[in-house]
């Protein structure tokens, strides 16, 4: 089955692109506040609540501060790359958001609630989000500092470990839907049920890999405050440093928007369908989940991330890809996938519940 989508006039596309950029930058600013407030709640403290009501003006104060701080370019840095790297990161992080649909066609004042409707949407997302790693990598390389170098090497090392799992995990939905278009993915889920139900292992692998891609705890090794003193952005100050924060948070928001789009039905909902509302709720859920994880977990060592990427994410994604390919190629009923997916969920729950804990309370050291 195929769906067709209206094409918006160019001025409208440009307007929406602008809206996405402005919206994302605002969202970034307030995400810093929300994350700090939430972390504070997890950590029995108050968080920033002095600037404005509930600390709402804190992001503005932070922005003013980082703009007016001294902008240092270190002596040993590769000047061109040093300035270019943060810009590169932000631009590619912003680009990824445009293809995500937020509602049915015509729900944005008579126009479509997405910037572009690409037939190769998923490939585009891949290309763009992988380019963003260059921002981090080049920043570490260009800084001329050993800590930054270690940070950028780590980011490349973690890239090759989660990337395979990430790509293979997405192939399962693509095979089922038969399209790379994000709108097609959402519409297919609207008719056949969420892809989460058909491809739970792929969802799991993708969610974990997305966490690694956004370089957040437990995969925040390129930054690793306690080891590398900030890693790739050790030598950065002022607005350039803020740009790195921006990149990180926009990645974070994009990942939280992509997971629901790909696996949780995007803007659709079986009951009480309101455009935008469910999409925002789903994004908020994943943002909260990731902040929760940050408050709870330890950081992995980078060889452990490599082992995890190659030893768990990659085989699981590959296996599920083969299973899906088998079902699609032989044209078996898709309900088989539902059962297998449910089975894998039960297997995971069993593994979590029955894996012996490392240490039992009161046991031997």
């Amino acid at each position: 089955m195929t769906w067709s989508y209206p094409v918006d006039p160019y001025w409208m596309v440009a307007l929406k692109a602008l809206l996405v950029v402005v919206g994302l930058l605002t969202a970034f600013a307030f995400m810093t506040l929300i994350e700090r407030r939430l972390l504070a709640r997890f950590q029995v403290r108050m968080g920033p609540n002095r600037v404005g009501p509930f600390g709402l003006f804190q992001p503005i104060a932070d922005a003013i501060k980082s703009i007016f701080k001294e902008d240092l370019v270190v002596e040993r840095a590769d000047k061109v790359l040093f300035v270019l790297a943060p810009l590169l990161g932000v631009v590619f992080a912003l680009l990824a958001f445009g293809a995500i649909p937020f509602g049915p066609p015509g729900s944005f004042f008579g126009y479509s609630p997405w910037v572009v409707n690409l037939d190769l949407g998923l490939l585009y997302l891949f290309a763009v989000s992988e380019m963003a790693i260059y921002g981090i990598f080049l920043a570490g390389w260009a800084s001329g500092s050993k800590y930054s170098l270690l940070g950028s090497l780590r980011s490349s090392a973690s890239l090759i470990s989660y990337e395979l799992g990430l790509g293979l995990a997405l192939l399962a939905p693509v095979l089922l839907v038969g399209s790379l278009n994000l709108n097609d993915l959402v519409n297919w889920q609207k008719e056949n049920g969420w892809l989460l139900l058909y491809a739970f292992p792929a969802f799991l692998v993708y969610a974990i890999a997305a966490l690694a891609e956004a370089a957040r705890t437990p995969f925040d090794l390129p930054e690793a405050e306690q080891e590398l003193v900030g890693g790739y952005h050790t030598e950065y100050s002022s607005i350039k440093w803020a740009l790195f924060q921006m990149t990180e948070y926009i990645h974070f928001i994009t990942a939280s928007a992509l997971i629901p789009t790909l696996f949780l039905g995007g803007w659709t909902m079986p009951v009480l369908e309101v455009p935008y509302l469910w999409m925002f709720l789903k994004i908020a859920f994943f943002l909260f989940l990731f902040i929760w994880i940050r408050a709870t977990w330890f950081r992995l060592r980078y060889d452990q991330l490599l082992r995890f990427g190659w030893g768990f994410l990659f085989p699981v994604a590959l296996l599920w890809f083969l299973v899906t390919a088998f079902v699609v190629a032989l044209d078996l009923p898709r309900t088989y996938l539902l059962y297998l997916s449910a089975l894998s969920f039960l297997a995971l729950m069993g593994a979590v519940l029955y894996t012996p804990k490392p240490v039992r309370k009161g046991g031997g050291a």
């Binding site: 972390l39 997890f42 950590q43 029995v44 403290r45 050993k146 800590y147 270690l150 090497l153 705890t217 437990p218 925040d220 090794l221 690793a224 405050e225 306690q226 080891e227 590398l228 003193v229 940050r294 408050a295 709870t296 977990w297 330890f298 950081r299 992995l300 060592r301 980078y302 060889d303 452990q304 894996t355 804990k357 490392p358 240490v359 309370k361 031997g364 050291a365």
Partner: protein, 406 residues
């Protein structure tokens, strides 16, 4: 472009073999994970630590030399400033050494108060150890939880001594003054809560698979190496050596308390972290027992040579005025001799070696600081590990730089 194309591919010399270079990385003295101003010069191959040389002395303050120009009582102002996390251990170790020198008799109530405060201080120190140690492994939250309990302990200290850090409370032959009335009920309240909190912390990290991965088998120090390097305290016991000064050479009546000495099996970061959690349980046990035997009574040695007369007596007794004056201007004169009393601080064996030439000021004071000695094992433990492990190992050895450099 043309020149490049004209190059004879045969003429280009290929490197015979791929090779890598080692990198020297300077860590500290300003670094988030060096727990103060420790500087490490690390030789790295990739992220693997090939060699590590600690450079110390950035916090050298000359306390030991200063002590030679202060009376025996005044020295107590300096002692807690070395190990500012387990400060009562230093006060106590110094007081015990001088008391042995002058032959002071510490009343039982004062002994018990000292034990209570020493163990509370040990709890506070272990809490900081846990919070910062887990922070170094990338977990943000335990730090705040640990500091919440530490805050309660510091409040208790403030109640007793008027200070949160540098108490100046222990005196030669006792303690400065009796406990305030509200202290014991507040302490009981705290002891109600603390064991549950300890369980929570243990569940937070000791049962986390990521922590297990990060800490198990990392920075292993075998028992014989640990002994040869002079490692003491929790880090030695994590290697499975049963040496706790409170048991081996009891002081302040520790022999009368029942408590266990937790031992590790492998001597890795995991054991060193867990040992401290177990020790916190034992400290709570000791404080409970000490509270039971807290009987009313004097808190200072009645010997007028050591203890200044109580203030009201100065109004009526000329004798008292003389003693008061002599005590605060000149101090007391211990007999000639030298003493060393080992004690167990949160970091290991802590002892003051005090030499007296018969004057009112020590001829020489040498501190056997556990952090300083324990730091020796850092290069051994770090070799062959990775940069993130190095950070974890530093944290697990629990150095306090004030204690190292003095």
């Amino acid at each position: 472009m043309k020149e490049y194309l004209d190059l004879d591919p045969q003429g280009v010399e290929e490197p015979k073999e791929l090779r890598t270079e080692v990198m020297t990385l300077n860590v500290g003295p300003q670094h988030p994970s060096t727990h103060g101003v420790l500087r490490l010069v690390v030789t790295l191959s990739g992220e693997e630590v090939l060699d590590l040389v600690p450079h110390i002395g950035y916090l050298h303050t000359g306390f030991e030399k200063n002590m030679e120009n202060r009376t025996y009582t005044q020295v107590i102002t300096y002692t807690p400033r070395m190990d500012y996390l387990h400060s009562f251990a230093h006060d106590l170790a110094y007081a015990l050494a001088v008391e042995k020198l002058v032959g002071a008799v510490v009343p039982p109530r004062a002994e018990t108060i000292r034990v209570i405060l020493n163990e509370l201080s040990r709890l506070a120190s272990h809490l900081v150890f846990l919070g910062t140690g887990l922070l170094d492994l990338g977990a943000l939250t335990p730090f705040f939880y640990a500091f919440r309990e530490r805050e309660t302990i510091l409040d208790l200290f403030e109640w007793v001594t008027g200070q949160r850090f540098h108490h100046n409370y222990i005196r030669i032959g006792g303690v400065k003054e009796d406990l305030p009335e509200e202290f014991v009920p507040e302490l009981r309240k705290f002891l109600e809560v603390m064991p549950h909190r300890i369980d929570e912390y243990e569940a937070l990290f000791a049962e986390s698979p990521i922590f297990y991965e990060r800490a198990r088998g990392v920075g292993v120090i075998p028992p014989e190496v640990a002994i040869n390097l002079g490692l003491t305290g929790g880090s030695l016991r994590a290697s499975g050596v049963n040496y706790d000064v409170r048991k081996a050479y009891p002081y302040s009546g520790y022999e009368t308390y029942t408590f266990d000495v937790p031992l590790g099996e492998r001597g890795d970061v995991f054991d060193r972290m867990l040992i401290r959690i177990r020790e916190m349980r034992e400290s709570v046990k000791i404080i409970r027992q000490a509270l039971e035997r807290l009987e009313p009574g004097p808190v200072r040695d009645p010997n007028p040579q050591i203890t200044p007369p109580p203030r009201p007596l100065l109004e009526t007794s000329m004798e008292a005025v003389i003693y008061h004056f002599k005590h605060y201007t000149e101090g007391f004169h211990p007999p000639k001799g030298e003493v060393y009393v080992p004690t167990e601080s949160a970091r290991g064996e802590l002892g003051y070696y005090v030499v007296s030439d018969g004057g009112s000021m020590p001829y020489r004071v040498k501190v056997r600081a556990p952090s300083f000695v324990n730091l020796q094992s850092l290069p051994y433990a770090c070799k062959g590990e990775q940069v993130p492990d190095m950070v974890a190992i530093i944290a697990s050895l629990d150095p306090v730089m004030g204690d190292v450099d003095r």
